[in-house]
Structures are given as structure tokens and as C-alpha cells.
Amino acid sequence: MGRGFNQLLDSVVRIDVREVDYDGGARRFQASIGSGVLLSSDGLVLTNAHVASPRAVEITITLASLERVGARLVGWDHWTDLALLRLDMGEVRRRRLKLTHGEFGDSDRLFPGETVYAVGTPFGLTRTVTRGIISNSNRYFEDDNGVNGYETGAFNTWLQTDAAINPGNSGGPLVTEDGRIVGITSRGYLGANNLGFAIPANVAKGIVAGLVQTGTITRSYVGIVPKALQDFEGFYALALDTGMLIDSVDPGSPAARAGLLGGDVLLAINGRKVDGRFPEQLPPIQNLIASQPVGSVLVLTLKRGTRVSDASVVTERLESSMGEESVLDAWGLSVRKVSRTFARENQLPDDTGVLVIGIHPGFPADAAGIQAGDLVTKINEKPLTSIDVVNQAQAAYAAKPGPTLLETVRDRRVSLYILKP
């Protein structure tokens, strides 16, 4: 192994995270371990979004020198399962800690069979190196709740490797023999033998740049659900390698307002031809839409029956179905705000309300009969338009406990409950 590889080893860190857990109707903390890689001399550490998220309350980094330093979250992006941390540089300087950082390679040049190494902290075993090959350099994998309940995978394909990946490897680098980072190890199939997945470095580079700049990744949304055209070309009278099938159009989305329908074929975006014949080709097309600035006008060329026409859509900001979460300790209730996406996916009339995600046994919400999965739409007749409304109502109750009326919906059935001290 050369100098590059040794330098890379010195840039891999262990990450200990303590994060708040909202699920049980009470504020609880849980600890987890992941891996990461130092990217710069000013203390940027790249890891997975499922290792460090906004729920983290304490992040501790163990450097290759075994010294421990605190860190904070710069930003995260669950869609690509990436998060960026920054070391406490004041502490680094005070303790005169030496930082070594890794360098990205070009993940587009990887080929199946190429030797790669995964470095990380599997099961807490710090600085473990495993070896394997690239099994597939263009794996399609999408999951609607793959990153602690958040969506992932719609905008990128993944690297697949047979290098041993275990829990705790998450966020560590996948590197070539010269020590270049070609991927960020993210997930494996449990119970399978050596089926591991990593985010390609060329995807990570863009996300890192975006997170450094604004702390967040903003994407555009038009509301079309794609499907590979494979096998449908004959029916739609299309040449091979032309167009992408629209499987569904989200109700109320820009695409729906522009009159798009499930069964339409998307031929081009702003005049640029699209080819969605195979599932692996869908993420780049989705990313082409997502990477436009929010509010852009896109001209979509569509084929419906024999007719080809253009439709203009104005993009909106992409939103997760996971809304903001809160714990209402006095009631023993943890809730998540209904987002527009959640409302649409669950055919709710609008985004009013909070979803009950946890109940603390024996507390007022439990005593009243509220259950996880209930949607609370009103408190004392006031519609819950934001998480603040809920938090304020709970604060008022905590200050002066008294009977409080909750209106809930479960399976479309409206019920009334009283919370009382």
C-alpha cells in the first residue's frame, strides 16, 4: 500500500452520536456509532445522514490519533444519505491536534471487478479495513423511508461492493488502492453475504459543496412519478431508448396543474431528450428536474396517444413527507407535523394537523385514549397549522393544567378527547 492509502487511513474517524428519540411520548436519548472521513484541514467530516441528523444533540469524533474532539452538524441530505460535520476547530487548535484529510477520486471511472477497500468502525471496532471489489457501479435503489424514516435514493444510483460492510461502517469511505475516496459506505443487505452499497464520490462532491455553502440541499419538484419504459415501447409506438413513462402524477402538484396524466410519456425536458428505458436511468432524469432552481419554468415534451405536445411547469421546492417533530411532555405525546407531501400521500384534505408518533403510558394523552397513528387536527377548536401552535397549547397547559379538547382523525373517523390533569 502506498503513501496515499496510509494518508487516507489517517483521515478516517469514528463518530459517536447521542440523539434525541421522539418515539415514546417522552424525550429520550439514544447513542449510536458510525464512521466518517475528514475532507479538509479546516475540520469538515463527511458521513451518512443516518449517522448524524438534526436530531443529534452531541457528536464526538475520534481521530486516527485516538484523540476525541467535539463536532457539530453543518447540514444533511437524506436523499443521498450524506451529512457534513465540522470539528470544534478551537479545540483542535488549543490541543494542537494534527488533522489529515482524504481526497476524492472519480467514481465514474470505476469498473466492476475493481479492487476497493472499506474503512470504518463496524460494531465499534475502530479503524477496520476490509477489501472487496466493485460489484456493480450503477445500482438503482430507492426507499421511501430508508434514512430513519426519510426518503432516499430517488436522485442517484449507488456503488455496490462485496467488501464486508457491517453496522458501524456507515459513513466511512470506500477507497481505491491509491487511497482516493470513491464512495461513502451507506448500507448493506442484512442477512445477505457481502451486498454493500455506497454513495458515489461524484454525487458526494456536489452535496458537500452545497452543504458547505448553505447548510442544506434544495431541490425542485414537479410531481411526476417515473417508471421505466422497458417493454412498453411497442404499445406507445416509440423507438427504443426514447422517453420515460409517467406512472403517476401527484394530485395538486405543478405537473397535475399543467394537465399531465399517468400514462403520458415524457420525451424531453427543456428540449433535452430523456431516455428512461431502464430503472437505472431514472435517477439521473429525476436529478435533472431536481437540480433546477426552485421556481424554474420547465418545458416538458409529452406524448399522449399519438399526440406530442409541450407543457410548461413551474417547479416547487421538494419536501419530505417527514415533518418537524416535537415532544409534548406534559401530555406524554410525541407528534410529527403533517407535511404537504404526507398529506398528499395519505389523501388528507390539507396539511393541517400533527401525527401522533408516540404515547407515554399513564400520561394524559394515554388516559384519554389517544393512540399512535391518530392525527390531531385541533386543540381547543384551534386548527393545528404549525408545530408552534401545538407547542404553545402544551406550554399553556403545563403552566395552568385544565381540561383541553383535542379533535383527532383516525381512518377518517373524527373523535373528540379531553386531556386533563
Binding site: K227, V414, I418
Partner: protein
């Protein structure tokens, strides 16, 4: 309390014991007479893929061989045309006679079956054992007894079940609970003199905690006895309704209000709304075009009175929703129902003229396509409600059944999918869909077609390959 001298207590005991023995001797005779009001009914439910047998117990109610079966004896969602080969068994006798299904009554929930001539003469209506005027109301501690039936292999041999009345509750009908099992579900219950006092209901679940060396208990499990029950409707809830024999197998006419998703208002909520002591039912949704909508009812109104009478208070409060449902089912289309509702702090009186229940799913037309491998069903009112779509916009058909390993199932078609387009052309009606699908089904040269289906608000394009 005064102490009772030992000798006097002993004397009383001897007299009581003698009386019991004397009267107990006639139980076999009473049972032999009354068992003629009891039958077992077997029928088949025939679907695209299977033929399923069900056995239920029934009570004979008249001289024409009419039998009532309890509400749960037949799944109300199954189209009557799929219910086949009703057989009526006399307890203890392997022979049987044919029966005809007459339909379900919405108010009582009973299913009515009529036994053929051959078996009819062996039956005696249970009304013969009812009191001439008012049905006697048993009081707590009274002896009550009934009949259980052994399974088919034992020729439905009748046996005696006896107990004492422990509790009477309004659920919302007056329901007796005996200390132990007192009758098979759907079979009559008698008092000590053999007079009809009730009709066995399905047994309520009994909570038990499983406890063993390895399992130190935990959440209780509920065990439901399906052969015997300790619950029964009092005769006053049975006898006045025996004449509700459906005129049509579909049970119509069926009254319809259209106040959907009723939820009980509990006591704390009533207190909070300053309705202390009142009962109420929250209306989750007022259905499109329904009598409730025409009467001016709104979503989230709370019904507190019907025809001027406040809703009764039930324990548990949840029985109030069944009470309101029954108040509708008891009436006929065209009847006017006056509803007092609470909307915010306002109290309103609404006059609803009940309508005819829109076509139910069990009444929807359906057709099975064997080569494609699924059953298409007419889109009915309830489908529009389930899919939160306006009834007027609802063309298309619903997938009722998908046969495994057929072109339809391989293409990913699922039950409850709503087929909107066939080969890129919108489906206008059930007949239109049947025409299009039949053309595909019977065209030997057809190798593929495309469906656009709606599923949970999203759509999916499905490619069905026929070869």
C-alpha cells in the same frame, strides 16, 4: 342482619332442595319440545377461486318454516348470488332439507332462511313458547337455560345449557348476561318454566392472561367461544321484530342518511362542552348528495337528539353510534328524521328525509375474465366515498379479485385497483369496460394490453402480457 338459627336454615334448605328436584325432572321434556324450534343451517359461499362451507345455528319463527340466523352467520359483503345450497338440519338427525335464503334485515341484522316442505312439518315456531302477552323479563339470579348443538359429525345432537342471569345491559338493545354459557349463538333462551326469554347472541370475548413457567403473563388475550354464548337479547328485543322478513333478497328498501363515520362523544367531552349527562355522536363526514347533506348537516356536527328525544347514555359510550345507525335502519326511505345537532356553540334542528341506500358493493355488477385472470366490478357510490372522489366524476371499474399466477396478477394488478383506462382509452362505464375486456379476452391474436389504474391516490401503468 339477624343471625338465623341453624335449625331453621337447615329446614329451609331441605324444602328448597326438594322443590328443585321436583321441577328439575321436567327439563328433558321441556327440551324435547323446544328443540324443534332449533336448526343448524349449512351453506356454501362460492367465489371465483373457492367454495367455502359455513354452518350456523338458527331459530324457527313461524309455521312457514322461516328461520332467523344471527347477523354474523353470513358475511354481509358477499353478494347473495354467491350464497349457495342452503341445507337445514334438524338436531340429532343426519337427514336434512333444502333451504332458501330470503335476505338480511338491516335493523335486526338477522338473516332469514326458509326451510322446504319436507323438513317444515318437523319444525315448531319458537313463538309457541313465548308468553301470550308480554315477554317475561328475567330478574337477576333467575334460572335461564337453552340449547347447544354438537358439530355436524355428531348430527348436531342437542344438549342442555343452564345458568342464572347475572346482568342486564343496554348495548344498545337490552342484553342479558348469564353466569355461564346459556345457548348456542342464534338459539333461544328460556326461563325455568320453559317460556322464551331471549335469543342467544355471539359470545363476547373473555380476557385471559396466558401464564406459564416461560411466560410470566402480560397483555390479556381474548378468547371467543364460537359454539356457546352467555349473552342473549331479551325477548322484548326479539318478538316484535320477527315479522321483518325481507321482501327481496337484497334486503331493500334500505333507508339512508349519509352521516358517515359516527364516533361516540365520551363523558369528559360532554362535560367540556357543557352537555353534562348527555350522549352524542360525532359525524365525521357528511356524504355527497346524501339526505344528511340536503338537510344541512356539516362535517363534525354532533348529533344529540333524534325526533326530540335525547340520545340515551350508554355504558360504554361507544354504543351510541350503533343506536343512531339502528334509528336509521328502523325507518324506511321517505321517512323524515328530525336531528338535533351541536355545531360549535350552536344547537340546530335538521329535518332529513331519508333516501334509498345507493347501490352497495355487494349489489354491484361483476364479471370474471378467465384468460386475463381477474374480476371487474361496477364502480358504486361507496367506491367514490372510499377514494375521496366526487361521485359524478367516477367512471371506471374496480378490480374485485385477481387470480394468482395469471397475466393480471403477473402484471401487478391488485384487488381494489380502480381501472381508469384500458389501452390508453378512458373507461366510461361498467358495460364499456366489459366490452373492451371481452374483446381482449376472446381475441386469440391479442398478446398484450395496457391498464392505467388508480391506487391510493396514485396511478400506475400496468402492462398485461397474455402470451
Amino acid at each position: 342482619m339477624m343471625p338465623v338459627s341453624g335449625r331453621r336454615a337447615a329446614a329451609l334448605f331441605i324444602i328448597l332442595a326438594a322443590a328443585c328436584r321436583m321441577r328439575g325432572a321436567d327439563i328433558p321434556a321441556l327440551l324435547a319440545e323446544r328443540v324443534r324450534s332449533v336448526v343448524a343451517v349449512e351453506y356454501f359461499t362460492e367465489t371465483e377461486s373457492e367454495r367455502r362451507t359455513t354452518v350456523a345455528y338458527g331459530t324457527v319463527i313461524d309455521d312457514r318454516g322461516t328461520i332467523i340466523l344471527p347477523p354474523g352467520a353470513i358475511d354481509g359483503h358477499v353478494p347473495p348470488a354467491q350464497l349457495k345450497d342452503f341445507k337445514v338440519f334438524v338436531p340429532g338427525d343426519p337427514s336434512n332439507g333444502a333451504g332458501t335464503y330470503l335476505g338480511q334485515d338491516a335493523y335486526t341484522g338477522w338473516h332469514f332462511v326458509r326451510a322446504d316442505e319436507k323438513i317444515r312439518e318437523r319444525l315448531v315456531p319458537v313463538t309457541r313458547f313465548a308468553a301470550a302477552r308480554h315477554a317475561p323479563v328475567p330478574v337477576l339470579g333467575d334460572e335461564v337455560w337453552g340449547i347447544g348443538l354438537r358439530p355436524l359429525e355428531e348430527d348436531f345432537m342437542p344438549y342442555y345449557l343452564g345458568s342464572h342471569l347475572a346482568l342486564v345491559q343496554s348495548l344498545p338493545q337490552l342484553t342479558g348476561e348469564a353466569q355461564q354459557e346459556v345457548a348456542g349463538p342464534g338459539l333461544p333462551v328460556f326461563n325455568r318454566d320453559g317460556v322464551l326469554v331471549g335469543l342467544g347472541l355471539n359470545s363476547g370475548g373473555q380476557p385471559y392472561v396466558l401464564y406459564s413457567q416461560a411466560n410470566r403473563g402480560g397483555a390479556p388475550v381474548y378468547l371467543v367461544d364460537v359454539e356457546e354464548s352467555s349473552l342473549f337479547l331479551l325477548a322484548g328485543e326479539v318478538l316484535p321484530y320477527l315479522n321483518r322478513i325481507p321482501g327481496r333478497v337484497d334486503g331493500r328498501p334500505l333507508a339512508w342518511l349519509g352521516a358517515d363515520g359516527l364516533a361516540p362523544m365520551d363523558r369528559d367531552v360532554a362535560d367540556f362542552l357543557k352537555l353534562g349527562g348527555h350522549s352524542g355522536a360525532v359525524v365525521s363526514e357528511v356524504l355527497e348528495g346524501s339526505p344528511a347533506e340536503r338537510a344541512g348537516m356539516k362535517d363534525h356536527d354532533i348529533i344529540i337528539a333524534i325526533d326530540g328525544s335525547p340520545l340515551p347514555v350508554f355504558r360504554p359510550t361507544r354504543y351510541v353510534t350503533e343506536y343512531v345507525d339502528r334509528e336509521v335502519e328502523r325507518r324506511r326511505p321517505g321517512d323524515v328524521m328530525t336531528l338535533t345537532v351541536l355545531r360549535g356553540s350552536e344547537r340546530l334542528t335538521l329535518m332529513a328525509t331519508l333516501g334509498d341506500q345507493p347501490t352497495l358493493i355487494r349489489e354491484a355488477k361483476r364479471k370474471y375474465f378467465d384468460r386475463i385472470g381477474f374480476t371487474a366490478r361496477e364502480f358504486v357510490y361507496g367506491d367514490a366515498v372510499d377514494r375521496r372522489t366526487r361521485v359524478v366524476n367516477s367512471a371506471g371499474v374496480i378490480v374485485h379479485y385477481v387470480k394468482p399466477n395469471t397475466p393480471a396478477s403477473i402484471a401487478g394488478l391488485e384487488p381494489d385497483d380502480w381501472i381508469k383506462d384500458i389501452d390508453g382509452v378512458a373507461v366510461r362505464s361498467f358495460a364499456d369496460a366489459v366490452d373492451k375486456l371481452s374483446a381482449i379476452e376472446f381475441d386469440p391474436l391479442r398478446s398484450e394490453f395496457v391498464l392505467l389504474v388508480s391506487r391510493g391516490g396514485d396511478t400506475a401503468v400496468l402492462h398485461v402480457k397474455l402470451k
